[in-house]
Symmetry: C2
């Protein structure tokens, strides 16, 4: 028996077929989205814009799955008929405006070229004003709505985006009968659902991103939504009443897509979850484990049993029942840019390429912590956790006339490690146990220097997921469970996930220096982030110079 | 009648022969110092080290002067016998350890390769600890010593450097019979002086840099110097009792050097001054004029009549009677790095060359003020005025994932303009009149974009010196005056200096944006510089984003 996981990333989609008994990979294929710049539709006049062409999702779906099947066929014993279920994960919140038949309005000639009619990709930050206003309104009228997302509603999320669309392009808003998250939409397409109200929505995407909770009867009440705009309140009737965790299927494969993909019709399709949530399952998440998916941005997720109450944690984006595993609160935090910052430095500023990444990594690896005298904030794309503020920007401090690009490269890596530590400290402070950290994603696998810095900065041993396709694997695990191959996620994870042999342990001498640098990082973080309003920064540059001189001596 | 000006810069020496009647240039030659990296001896393990091989000064002297004469000979009417005087300026404070015969100890085989036995170039910052201690001791025992240099003694100056030499390399200190500033040493060599006590020292270099003032009887009293070290107190006897302004000659050309250079023996040699001080004369400085020499670093100088008392101005490096023009206080301020910061960005970080400078300048010129959302501090080499603190470093803020190298290049230029404005505001605040600003130096001539930004940021019209060799011209003017071609510096300046036709006027729309950005600059400046110890920086990044969005709208 095999299951299929489909992972919609920021630049490409990946299909993965695994064996249900042990998670062995039978076939895998990646398809880059053909539209825009690396799959993203940009607007030169506004760096906050990030959209995606929904047609790319269908193109990538068919191409990646059929190719994965073609490759799996080469393995002994595999047959497409033995695929018992499909799971889908995607980026999010990435809502798509659809018509009354669940078809993206971007497929209509009229809207094809309109950026606002496309999928609003997770990292679109155009709606920061709306996000700030929703935060205000919720704080005033329904503080419970945002209590579990750190008290701050984000511009990356569902309502901000939809409301912003209404504000800047009401014609598009009016043309959309409803809005569906990418992660719910793909399963609904596979299941042949042609009514947005019939799309079985996942609680993962609904959770804090659409302010959904059973406690207050689903989505926010109409009166509240009317404070945004009466049209938003009306939209509520065309969305959904209930969202589901992964114990329920999203539907079963319709004949049309079964034929396109070469799979058996009728096999179950798992509820859609965001990439990192299924990624956590692909890494073997359980209580006490923090999973870090380190990519262009970073997501940090963990689970805590629903048997005990979980406190609201300031600045933690989302604590949602069933968002990852049924029976557990899913806790989600993250950094808005990690790999993207290194990419910016190397490709945009240094105008280099993959080889430049390698050269800078080699040079940076030779440096001692603190030796360059630099300190950076990892906010080039805002701060998701613990400040939940997109209206922040990068900062680099300590440069002299001799500072090299490799030193800055390392400082940027360290900045993301300090950001990671801030998240870990906040979670622990509020009683979330973190006994082990499992990392996944390309950077975790390919950059031992970064992983060692993360271990040294956080003081935690870093483990690496056995699968280099943890998100797709997690989707496949969910598919295996929903298809009945396992009775529980716990047993499926035990059988289907693994860890790599490599282990990154903190080096005590490095930790001591990074503890000093982290103190300075927190001073800058808290001051520029607004947590501290009467900071004395007169010693920051001098302290950096002292650390630098001590490390060079 | 002609006069010769010799200008010792950071990387090269320039000789200039001018006609005394109108300052017309007859011949000019530049010689790069052959030693070290672009003429500077560096130490890879300590970026504060900047030394120079004294042999380069003599090599450059002979080569530049003979070449300038060779070129001048091509002009009708010129003859070397018609050169009536020589003036010399140099960087400083750049003290050279010499033996009892006024010969640099670096010329001895034993010390040839010892970095501490060389000339301690102005921008050597190794002695920051000694500078801080001198500041402390002076504040406690003789506050008058540092009152006229902004209350802070600098690591760039005479006593810090010599004391540091004693602390780190006592053998070199003991081998040096005396120390002579480069700007005094070259005239003394030309005059054939072979006793350090007989070297006629200029008050320009002696002034605040060696804490010399007639008010307290010359150099600091022995008791004070003994607080540094008894050996420093002993050294006082082997230095000088009196320093002179430019109304006195330093000596007359000795036969040996007359022969080497092909000039008449016995012609007067003007008192040595620092490059910018003679540069101010070459620009036509008078009361109400601020002269900015914009190069690797920037020096800002002005004069105020000695008829009225001048207050101590906090953070202004030096107010010295006769340092520029006889009968006037010379006021000196400056920025530790300007061109050096652009050079660092282009050559070290971007790994580009002259062409890259051009490309980035073209791109940056297309941007509107504030459009990139960036803000930088110009402290990559510390801050000379108004903080007088070498223990500061660069800062860049506002970068996103789209920020380009050209945007950062422009932000660095703007940062130096904000630093320039800080100096202007401080001077005006204390009653120093600034009615016009004349700029000199390669950057002022070659970079109209920078000059316009300076006009827009400071709100002052920027004029450009007519001579591209203002420092050498000023030396030549001093030589003409000391040789009797003019009765006063005022009349010599009137005849021998000029302004370029180009004038940079502030553009009102730009000024408005830069006023907003300057407010943010001052917030960062005052907070990281220690002037403000309870700053609220939570709005800085948001304010930058607002300005950016307004400028892009």
């Amino acid at each position: 028996m095999y299951s299929l996981g489909i992972d919609y990333g920021t630049n490409s989609v990946r299909a993965l077929i695994v064996r249900c008994t042990d998670g062995a990979e039978m076939g895998s294929a990646v398809v880059n989205y053909p539209s825009g710049s690396q799959g993203i539709l940009l607007d030169k006049s506004d760096h906050n814009v990030a959209r995606q062409n929904p047609a790319d999702y269908l193109y990538g779906l068919e191409k990646s799955v059929t190719e994965a099947i073609r490759l799996a066929r080469k393995k002994r014993g595999f047959s497409p008929d033995a695929v018992i279920g499909i799971g889908v994960d995607s980026t999010g919140s990435s809502p798509i405006p659809v018509d009354a038949r669940n078809v993206p309005i971007a497929f209509q000639r009229k809207w094809r070229k309109n950026l606002n009619a496309q999928c609003w990709l997770w990292k679109d930050h155009t709606s920061w004003r709306e996000a700030a206003r929703i935060t205000e309104l919720a704080a005033q009228h329904h503080p419970e709505y945002i209590a579990s997302c750190g008290g701050v509603y984000s511009s990356e999320w569902f309502w901000s985006k939809i409301w912003h669309c209404l504000n800047i392009d009401p014609a598009v808003f009016d043309a959309a009968w409803s809005w569906v998250e990418l992660t719910d939409w793909v399963p609904s397409v596979l299941a042949g659902v042609n009514d947005p109200r019939a799309v079985k929505r996942g609680v993962c995407a609904a959770g804090h991103k659409a302010l959904y909770a059973e406690d207050w009867g689903g989505l926010p009440e109409k009166d509240f939504l009317a404070r945004l705009d009466p049209k938003i309140a009306e939209l509520r009737d065309r969305l959904y009443e209930k969202a589901w965790d992964a114990s329920e299927p999203a539907g079963s494969l319709c004949p049309q897509w079964a034929e396109k993909l070469g799979l058996k019709p009728g096999i179950p399709i798992a509820i859609g979850e965001f990439d990192v949530h299924y990624g956590a399952i692909g890494c073997g998440v359980k209580e006490g484990t923090l999973v870090k998916v380190i990519g262009t941005s970073t997501c940090d997720v963990g689970v805590v049993s629903t048997k005990k109450p979980v406190p609201d944690i300031p600045g933690i984006c989302g604590i949602v029942k069933g968002a990852i595993l049924p029976g557990y609160y899913g806790i989600e935090a993250g950094q808005s840019a990690v790999g993207d910052i290194f990419k910016w430095w190397v490709e945009v500023v240094c105008q280099g390429d993959e080889e430049t990444h390698r050269v800078l990594t080699t040079e940076a690896a030779k440096q001692k912590p603190g030796q360059a005298g630099l300190l950076a904030l990892d906010w080039n794309n805002g701060n998701r956790t613990i400040l939940v503020d997109q209206r922040l920007s990068g900062l680099l401090l300590g440069q002299t006339l001799h500072t090299t690009r490799a030193e800055i490269y390392r400082a940027l890596i360290e900045a993301t490690a300090f950001g990671a530590r801030t998240i870990i400290e906040r979670l622990r402070e509020y009683g979330v146990p973190i006994r082990r950290i499992i990392c996944a994603g390309g950077i975790a696998e390919k950059n031992p220097m970064l992983m060692q810095i993360y271990a040294d900065v956080t003081g935690c041993t870093m483990l690496v997921s056995g699968s280099s396709q943890a998100c797709a694997l997690g989707s496949a695990i969910s598919a295996a469970v929903v298809a009945g191959a396992y009775k529980s996620f716990a047993s499926a994870e035990r059988q289907m996930t693994s860890l790599k042999d490599v282990v990154y342990k903190p080096i005590p001498a490095h930790r001591r220096v990074y503890d000093q640098l982290y103190e300075l990082y927190r001073t800058l973080h808290d001051t520029f982030g607004g947590l501290k309003k009467d900071a004395d920064l007169s010693g920051v540059m001098k302290r950096l110079l002292e650390i630098k001189e001590a490390q060079r001596a």
